[in-house]
Amino acid sequence: MLFGLPIAQIVLFGFALSNEVKNSRIAVTDYSKDPVTTQLIDKISSSSYFNIQRNLTSATQIDAAFKKGDIRMAVIFPPNFSTDLTHTGKATIQVIADASDPNLATTITNYITRIVGDFNTTTALSAGQPLQILPEVQMLYNPELRGAPNFVPGVMALVLMLVCTMMTSVAIVKEKELGTMEILLVSPFKPIYIIISKLTPNLLISIVNLFVILILSALFLDLGVKGSIVLLVFDSMLFILTSLSIGLLLSINAKTQQSAMMASLMGMMLPTMLLTGFLFPIENMPWPMQVLANLVPSRWYFIIVKRVMLKGMGFGAVWKETLILAGMCFVLFAVSLRKFKIRLQ
């Protein structure tokens, strides 16, 4: 279970998650039904971005369709569209987006603007419209906007960190709960040996997990390690050790397995997920959240994986992040060693 579950997640997310917005369901209302509107509607429906769902005729119908979640956008062509266009040289399409999802609304509004813009350009070119600026857009690294290149490093950071923290914290607290910790403590072992022997199995499991994840993403997700594998593994070990130390620290403060789990799952899961930076860009956050994000080890590891694995950059590009991880690891481990109680109350 320790092996299977993290790996299953990476593969699932790698295949399933994507940022490409396509086949958005929209409604089209054409009051004009003339050659120009028909041509435009054809253009819209032939693009892969949109999926024309149905024709709606009134604002109440549009509202109802939005409320049911049937459509994302409504496009309305007013009456006398092409007459206006030829006589006054102007015609306006009304576009209503369901902005309850603001980003999707922005993106699809832009898609439709682009389609209409293209249409304008073609008619303008044939009419000799002056001064055309034609932007040519190229998507680097990930032209199909697959989710995997962003989500695999992100989920790797998230899963490794949480699994390591949880396993360690619970494993130690369990011994406390069962009373076997006392036996260890009265033995002549030094506390550091107890800690190291507790951490080693988890470290090994995590390293195996790491390798399986790397192999799977190279085989199935087309995400091989472009940079130095030694560097990646070294930084991963540093990151795993840091996470294990967090678990250690949690276990020292927790009395029962349940409270250790609560702290590591309820307390850490969502913050880690959001502050790692793979779901929401950290530079967008208000500064207190940025400070908080800087304290999350997975934030630094995520940067390292992206640079070394995806972009193939060397140590020169990640030395700062590596140093931060090393510092965190050292501080956490030292603090938990100091606080590790050799006597039970």
Binding site: K68, N103, M269
Partner: protein
């Protein structure tokens, strides 16, 4: 019925006895709900752009000025070559590159058309989408402007072609406030983690400490025992959810447009399904460690795939089919619909029915799988 009451008394005492856990169950979600929406802000306004200006003309300066003053972009730097700009992208210092070709201004006037080259770092898809969107609309505006300004000076004959323009409006969230979108989802995520996990841990804890044996030898029926386990967590879930709604109102000013009853009916339907999952996980795990690994697995998948932070619509068909079996995906959708758009019961019947069916399946499975002979 009387047995159930006694069982409930036992459960409530047991839960409330552990003050630390109760405090954590209440405080952790509240604090996270206050803070995390600040982190989950995708109203992109800090896209870094590297500019390769090979033209150095007034036209190119004007375009760059327009881009930087738009508020969406910040200048990561001017570079002499495309290669240097690309290395800024590689170091994550720039998100996109705008390349203005040599003689842009001159040829625009001479040949009447010129190209601009934009390269976007597409690893972060949403940012790429939005960045590209903002930049092309700025360029379009710019194009319109110079067309008007140069109208008289341009050497070519002007013949105004018909223009189709767009009037776009954004319903339900006219100011594009991202918090409105994300707070309901984070609330659901927090309730999810609490509801299914706590039920599972609670039962497995009884297994581990052996107290479940004591109940197994009593004549208490399976389903009564399980109902007794579920009701306290149902109540706790409703309390946490209510606190969450209050936090959303106080800190983010979110007042549900729809009816509160619709929200609570959906919540109970949802908790029924999620507690069922917790029970089922408990019947499959012998130790708390196992219960934890299993619930971590499910909760993580729910968080990542239920549409809270990623788009379900963008997933391939098979994945969308799987997501249909996740109760949180339905509840998040319902929450957003009711809170933002004011959808009523009739609009959300599909989601409600789906959660109910999932709930019945999970609970039945759990009752069958729970053996009194441990």
């Amino acid at each position: 019925m009387k047995t159930l009451l006694f069982l409930l008394e036992k459960e409530f005492r047991q839960i409330l006895r552990n003050k630390g856990i109760v405090r954590m169950l209440i405080i952790a979600p509240v604090i996270q709900l206050i803070l995390l929406p600040l982190a989950a802000d995708y109203s992109v306004k800090n896209i870094s752009i590297a500019v390769v200006d090979n033209d150095h003309s007034t036209a190119s300066q004007r375009l760059i000025g327009k881009i930087t003053s738009s508020g969406y972009f910040k200048l990561a730097g001017y570079t002499g070559s495309y290669k240097a700009a690309l290395s800024l992208v590689e170091q994550d210092k720039a998100d996109l590159v705008l390349q203005i070709p040599t003689h842009f201004e001159r040829d625009l006037v001479r040949e009447n058309a010129q190209k601009l080259y934009i390269a976007i770092n597409a690893i972060e898809g949403t940012k790429a989408n939005l960045g590209g969107a903002y930049l092309s609309s700025i360029i379009q505006d710019y194009n319109q402007e110079i067309r008007q300004d140069w109208h008289t000076t341009a050497t070519v004959s002007i013949q105004d072609a018909p223009q189709i323009s767009m009037a776009s409006s954004n319903w339900y969230n006219p100011f594009m406030n991202f918090h409105l979108y994300i707070v309901p989802a984070i609330l659901v995520t927090l309730v999810t983690a609490m509801a299914s996990m706590q039920t599972a841990f609670n039962i497995v804890q009884e297994k581990e400490s052996g107290t479940i044996e004591q109940i197994n030898v009593t004549p208490i029926k399976k389903y009564i025992f399980i109902t007794g386990k579920m009701i306290p967590f149902l109540v706790l879930g409703i309390i946490i959810f209510t606190l969450g709604l209050l936090v959303g109102w106080i800190f983010y000013g979110i007042v549900p447009v729809g009816n509160l009853w619709v929200i609570y009916i959906s919540l109970i339907d949802y908790l029924f399904a999620m507690l069922g999952l917790g029970l089922l996980l408990a019947t499959y795990s012998a130790t708390q460690m196992q219960a934890m690994s299993l619930s971590f697995f499910f909760i993580n998948i729910f968080n990542m795939m239920s549409g809270a932070f990623t788009a379900v619509d963008s997933m391939p068909g098979w994945a969308q089919a799987i997501v249909q079996t996740f109760p949180p995906s339905h509840f998040i959708k319902i929450m957003r619909m009711v809170v933002l758009k004011g959808s009523g019961l009739a609009d959300i019947t599909y989601g409600l029915a789906a959660m109910f069916v999932i709930g019945v399946v999970l609970n039945t499975w759990a009752v069958i799988n729970y053996r009194k002979t441990a």
